[in-house]
Amino acid sequence: MRDRLAAAVKQSRAGYTEIRVERIWSSAVAFRGRRLETATVSEDQGGFVRVLNQGCGWGIASFTSLDELPAMVARANELSRAVRLDEPIRLADTPPESADAVLELDGDVRGISLSEKKQLLDRYNGAMLAVSNQIVDTQASYRDEVSEVWYVNSEGTSLYQRRPEVVVSGTAIARRNGTIEKGLESIGLRKGWDSVQGFDDRFRVVAQRAVDLLEAPRVRGGAYPVILDNELAGVFIHEAFGHLSEADFVYENPQARDMMTLGRRFGKPVLNVGDNGAAPGLRGTLPYDDEGTPTQDTPLIREGILVGRLHSRETAAKLGERPTGNARAISFRHPPIVRMTNTYIAPGDTGVGFDDLIRDIPLGVYACGAFGGQTMLENFSFTAGWGYMIRDGKVAELVKDVVLAGNLFQTLDRIDHIAGDFSWNQMGGGCGKGGQFPLPVTEGAPHVRIEEALIGGDV
């Protein structure tokens, strides 16, 4: 395949040409309540061509029919030439790479029968349903894939990557009269069959929580000291800060560049943030990004100061910085854009635990788990799965509908304590940007304390 792509690149009349071909083997099983929804095996494949000419813009073609590869290279070249630019697009230099980067399959999902996958999911789904007769509905899904990606460009890079993935997730819906609550579990790994066994308890726990939430009061809206658990702290750093550190947000925008000037203070010295696409074994991990740049650990905030950002080759060239291996596409249907990989808040002192964070809080909220998060640059929202009130330095009653609304700059600056209990949170789902969803990412964080944050809800 690589030879075939190299030949097509060679025939291209464009200044710069890259071709990416993907073949994705996947299987999926889904339950809704006690009923099996689907059990399928799918094969998806296609190609992506992107070219650049001197004084012109990007020409892009994506297609499912690989027979048309040479024609698509020619089409992309025509499209590029139709886009006239005064200021040329430049790509930061990266040394040509040639490699077979084959991630460990950890139990090849292609060798496991669909009925075994159904049995596993049936068990997890059953564990949720068995919790209570107040669990009126569940959604459970299993999905695995082995994706093979070939990438060749006209600068001599030639790569073959194999990326496995497996995701098991479940939603338990509890209902009592008009009140409906849900509990959510999701495990997403860049691994295989062996890594998703033995999670029965985790599914039981979320179903029980959905039942418990039926009786829980809604949190009262207002400003509180807030402790984020590891999962929510990870979602927070991804949503609230991570997206701003993607250089495509600033590279064409002088005002945004001013706002995100390297050296600006973003938080107290306790705060350290980074993005590490090379961290071993995580869902956001990949040896090379979709421009053939090796991934790396990129510090973004060091001791409260902005020190870096995430780049593609284009944004790096424009800002005179180095590519960081963050140009990613969700599939051959899309161009690579600047994305996160495994984003983290680094742990504080190992001696600092959760108890140290809540001890001096008379009234606060302990926000746990994440139903999701969205950012609109300086403002963000994230929805906790559940929460507890903190009263007189102790965890008190369960509360629901905990939604954190915030302003990035204020909130980051109000992080005053970070515990030492770091963990990666490997969920399914993924990140969405520019119409590309879901991109596999991981977030990691310890418990984090925000001096004061706005919690939405009844007032």
Binding site: V83, I180, S381, L454
Partner: protein, 444 residues
């Protein structure tokens, strides 16, 4: 392709249906006012569903030359694990499809230069100092064919064009984003482009000044875009799927008046000129309109073939399927129809749709952050504002930040304070602004 596939399936399974779709998309993208990229994408795929010994299975492929036998084998393997379902494929008798224009030649034939010109016009009209303007133009031509073993066939071509404009203004640490779009099956007219420009300008101009948010239970005008948080729970609860699962709060409420009596909601696949319109659904069921809510009364839930079979009712023609996976329920055009006589048209583009004159203190909400997260179907929502304006003594006084709104969609829609005169399409939903009373507004 469909005929060949169904021929292969005949005799080996009890029944089958299939969808074939080919899509060609052309995109031009302007970034920060500059044309940066032009692209095409071509994709074809085939989805097969079979019934074998009463069990359902599916398989799909994007292979350029799909092997019918291999696809059938995969669908049968899927059916071996599948649930028993008493599915009846609609017969050939229903093949009389309603006439509906989904294909517009001038959209399909528009050259790359035409698309670039249209984008450039928008960029030029929206350009202003200190604002970054991103514009994209996307044109799609799709061929769809559906068929089943009961002899039903359907085929249509459809066009779609989407123009989106994104304005970002950063001043110090203040980030303002205004977004709007034109989506249609036919090319936008000059008036459509003018409307898009004016809509962005109006919201941008009113947003330049930042004011303190109000606090308390207040009247809030949700613009057509801002309504998403209120509409989403309804769309979930009116789906036959959630009704069947027992998770819909509207289950068992058909015929009851649960909403303001002036409110009707219709799923209408036959609206001319809309990209979501179609003569037939993805399971060979001829299209027709479905009254979801009629004068405040819960009308009908939407179903595809499978959920209809399980609920012992008829499909409403809301079957939707992709290349992979089984068909599922999907809305087509969701139309909010107001029946209070006075306000129906779309004659005004003033912010708030004419609903703010007697608001002493309140908000206009145009965008909320995080809609769709959380426990949507319960109707409860709580979101920080993405773009919202304060209304004081009947006038827009500026943009508010650092505020959150919360409420319950079902409760708020029981008594609607008014319907705006600014009805418009937003994607596949048509609605005016709605004024809702007693919405919780929290500020920092």
């Amino acid at each position: 392709m469909i005929d060949r596939l169904l021929d292969t399936a005949r005799g080996t399974v009890d029944g089958a249906d299939a969808l074939w779709r080919r899509e060609e998309r052309t995109t031009v993208a302007f970034e920060s006012g500059r044309l940066k990229a032009a692209g095409i994408s071509e994709e074809a795929g085939l989805n097969l569903r079979v019934l074998a010994r009463g069990r359902m299975g599916v398989a799909g492929t994007t292979a350029a030359k799909p092997d019918p036998a291999a696809l059938l084998d995969r669908a049968r393997a899927s059916a071996e694990l599948g649930e028993v379902v008493d599915l009846a494929f609609p017969g050939a008798g229903t093949a009389h499809l309603p006439p509906i224009s989904t294909f517009f030649e001038r959209t399909a034939d528009a050259s790359l230069n035409t698309l670039i010109r249209m984008g450039r016009l928008l960029v030029e009209r929206l350009a202003r100092p200190d604002c970054q303007v991103n514009v994209s133009v996307e044109r799609e031509v799709a061929d769809t064919a559906v068929g089943n073993s009961a002899g039903a066939r359907g085929e249509y071509r459809a066009t779609g064009i989407a123009l989106t404009a994104d304005i970002t203004r950063i001043a110090g640490d203040d980030v303002l984003m205004v977004y709007d779009q034109y989506v249609g099956a036919d090319m936008p007219s000059d008036a459509d482009l003018e409307t898009l420009v004016r809509s962005v300008e109006t919201r941008l101009a009113a947003a330049l000044k930042v004011v303190t948010p109000p606090d308390g239970a207040l009247p809030v005008v949700f613009t057509p875009a801002g309504l998403a948080a209120v509409v989403l729970p309804l769309e979930q609860a009116l789906s036959g799927k959630t009704v069947l699962q027992g998770s819909s709060p509207l289950a068992g409420k058909v015929g009851e008046t649960l909403f303001d009596e002036r409110l009707s909601i219709i799923d209408d696949p036959l609206t001319p000129g809309r990209p979501a319109s179609r003569p037939v659904d993805d399971e060979c069921v001829p299209s027709r309109a479905t009254g979801l809510v009629e004068h405040g009364v819960v009308g009908r839930f939407v179903y595809d073939l499978e959920t209809a079979a399980r609920a012992r009712t008829q499909s409403t023609g809301n079957g939707r399927r992709g290349v992979f996976g089984k068909p599922h329920i999907g809305y087509t055009n969701v139309v909010f129809r107001m029946t209070d006589g006075a306000h129906v048209g779309s004659e005004s583009h003033a912010l708030g749709g004419g609903l703010i004159a007697d608001i002493d203190d309140g908000l206009i909400v145009d965008d909320l952050i995080g809609v769709g997260q959380g426990n949507v179907i319960s109707g409860a929502f709580s979101h920080p504002v993405g773009l919202a304006y304060r209304v004081q003594r009947g006038e827009v006084t500026g943009r508010v930040k650092d505020a959150a709104v919360a409420g319950n969609a079902y409760d708020l829609l029981k008594r609607i304070g008014g319907f705006g005169t600014d009805g418009r399409w937003l994607g596949s939903r048509w609605s005016p602004s709605m004024r809702l009373e007693g919405v919780s507004v929290a500020r920092r």
